[in-house]
Symmetry: C2
Amino acid sequence: MACGVGVIGAGTVGSGVIHTLLTNGDAILDQSGQTVRLRHVADLNLEPLKAFDLSGVTVSTDAKALIHDPDVSVVCELIGGVEPAKTFILEALRAGKNVVTANKMLLALHARELNEVAIENGVDLRYEAAVAGTIPIIKALREGLAANHIQAIYGIMNGTCNYILTRMSLEDLPFDAVLQQAMAAGFAETPPDLDIEGHDTAHKCTILASLAYSTPVKLDDLYVEGITGITRQDVAYTQEMGYQVKLLAVIRKVDGEIEARVNPTLVPEDHLLAAVKYEFNAIYVESDIADATLYYGRGAGKLPTASAVVADVVDIARRDGAPAPVPFRYAHEWPVREMGLLCGQYYLRIVTEDKPGVLGTVCGILGEHGVSIASCTQKDEHGPSPVNVVLMTHETTEAQVKAALAEIDALAFITEPAHLIRVL
Amino acid sequence: MACGVGVIGAGTVGSGVIHTLLTNGDAILDQSGQTVRLRHVADLNLEPLKAFDLSGVTVSTDAKALIHDPDVSVVCELIGGVEPAKTFILEALRAGKNVVTANKMLLALHARELNEVAIENGVDLRYEAAVAGTIPIIKALREGLAANHIQAIYGIMNGTCNYILTRMSLEDLPFDAVLQQAMAAGFAETPPDLDIEGHDTAHKCTILASLAYSTPVKLDDLYVEGITGITRQDVAYTQEMGYQVKLLAVIRKVDGEIEARVNPTLVPEDHLLAAVKYEFNAIYVESDIADATLYYGRGAGKLPTASAVVADVVDIARRDGAPAPVPFRYAHEWPVREMGLLCGQYYLRIVTEDKPGVLGTVCGILGEHGVSIASCTQKDEHGPSPVNVVLMTHETTEAQVKAALAEIDALAFITEPAHLIRVL
């Protein structure tokens, strides 16, 4: 029995899914033994569909007609955003249709509700494409690593940020210049805030943390810091110290609480994540039985995202009408850990007038707050004032560092707020 | 309903599986909603089982009793080798039991027969652990990349070889010294031939090539070259040229034929595979929709291998008694491509007496066979004779290079057979 697919949304990802279903049926048949057939496409704008030969496929501007089309057993929601995507998905689930979506924002906000409706209706809700595009990280956490307690997840999950940071590092360019070029080339979205402020990564971080620890993590509980504060100097100084700056989602369980956060992070040069360049994504997982694993690929783009969407469709098709497997249910209610409790090493850059006693005062304040210094270098020694004091701390808590910096930033000879980057 | 598991073989991997099932049931339940219970262990040597609390578990020296134990619905075959593993697996499949195995040699030789018996009996035969241990590459090919035509697979799939090559490269050590240390530390098997001669990688290459192209590849049809011919000089010279030597399985489809081979390969420094160090494995896959993806982790070891075995068990448990999904069947009968047709760049090291005219003669012979030279360096110029002539060719065929080298090796002033390493 052929599996009938409906695609709501014929934008970038939707077009990629349509292309894949129309051209790669032979590959799908080889791997799954199943025929997967595009039966219905719905969008308010039918213009992009002119590129395809859609004979035998119903085309409409009515998503609800698609949902209730008896030829459609799997509904792909590819319009993005919260509404009307959520309404469509709920209606499809309640109509007994399996749903595949790439909608990370919706899942970050409403995964619990959508999951419950899927369970009530005995259908599948799948969203591999919502996190890191083509990388099968949801499959890895739920299936490949099913026998493991997850110890930590470190993810490079935003291609725009990784592209900007890579070029800043390799070409010694300032943030703004690379961002402008990326936007002009249509590579970064306009406006780019969702990417560069870390919110896109936070959506994915929320989804992964919830799955990894079987607990409903709230998006609002995450600490989120983007890459707009990363300067050319910080990239150069930390590179000298043997690090690459990467925007990471970090997910861990510490003392019965979930650490889930997004922030620029210094990754040692010899760590595999440091070798992940330009727009590529990678997710490094530490777990108790499998030890370290890493998954790498394109986190966005028309076809790579489509690959993940269609993989979910094929998994559903493979069941060949048998009931949906036991669905994912949250087993716990772990709280998200307060950021102040975070424990680690910190890179600090203090920008100050070049005056006697400055270093002593700064180091004194750090010491008073229990922040111990591993290394300290004064940069631009022969340049004009202000100067950069670059410090690497020993392991300390976020609360201690932040308290010390608040005091340091208030000093008369400090010319701009301190720069801080956490170390992996 | 709890899924009952039987483990045949309580050696390294078997003990890892027993440990995982006994300690990580909570993780399995969180991810799958299923209870997976160890019900029966069989081995001729019951000594290793003393480490475990096996109350409630049947322990026997009779694999057939385990297979027919009504409490066992999934049989894990973890004894390795062809017989009696094959007999046990066939008997289990015919008894309607699902089978999970880590037995790469058996699968490389008999996958087709075993698959067919599984299909006839409507049960699952799974073997994620047989290829690259904890790396979910079979899941990636069959599920994550199901919508793709695979263009190429490059795999570092033998930890012992990668460990030896990494230390040769980082510490400038000769092959024998590292091998002896690895064997003394119990890290490399004794004898190490299956690993260092490339046969272990060839087993895995056969399994992956068969899956990727849905065709029954024969182990004997593969070209297999191990790392015993790789010298300290070759590692050093190629490193100067910007490469790392890696033992790769290479799988591609070219003109309706399957290229499937195992040989040392020069990987450019900036390729992610070059950053895979020591005993870790990684598999790089190029495909038409997802583009490049890479999967990294431990390819061997008690717990990492157990992680993959139990993941397969959990996938079966997740069906909760529903029929096995449509099984994998070979859809094609592609032949394996002759090695002489291989097309690529070659690193050559010619060892010769230091006499006038040598370089001209060598280059002349290469030219006569249509092998064009991209670079040529004479090493050890001021050292004693013999000298090393290091050449990098432009793209050429294996047949051309081999014909030229046969002629060169026969020259009077050549002191040892030419060294050849293929370039990625």
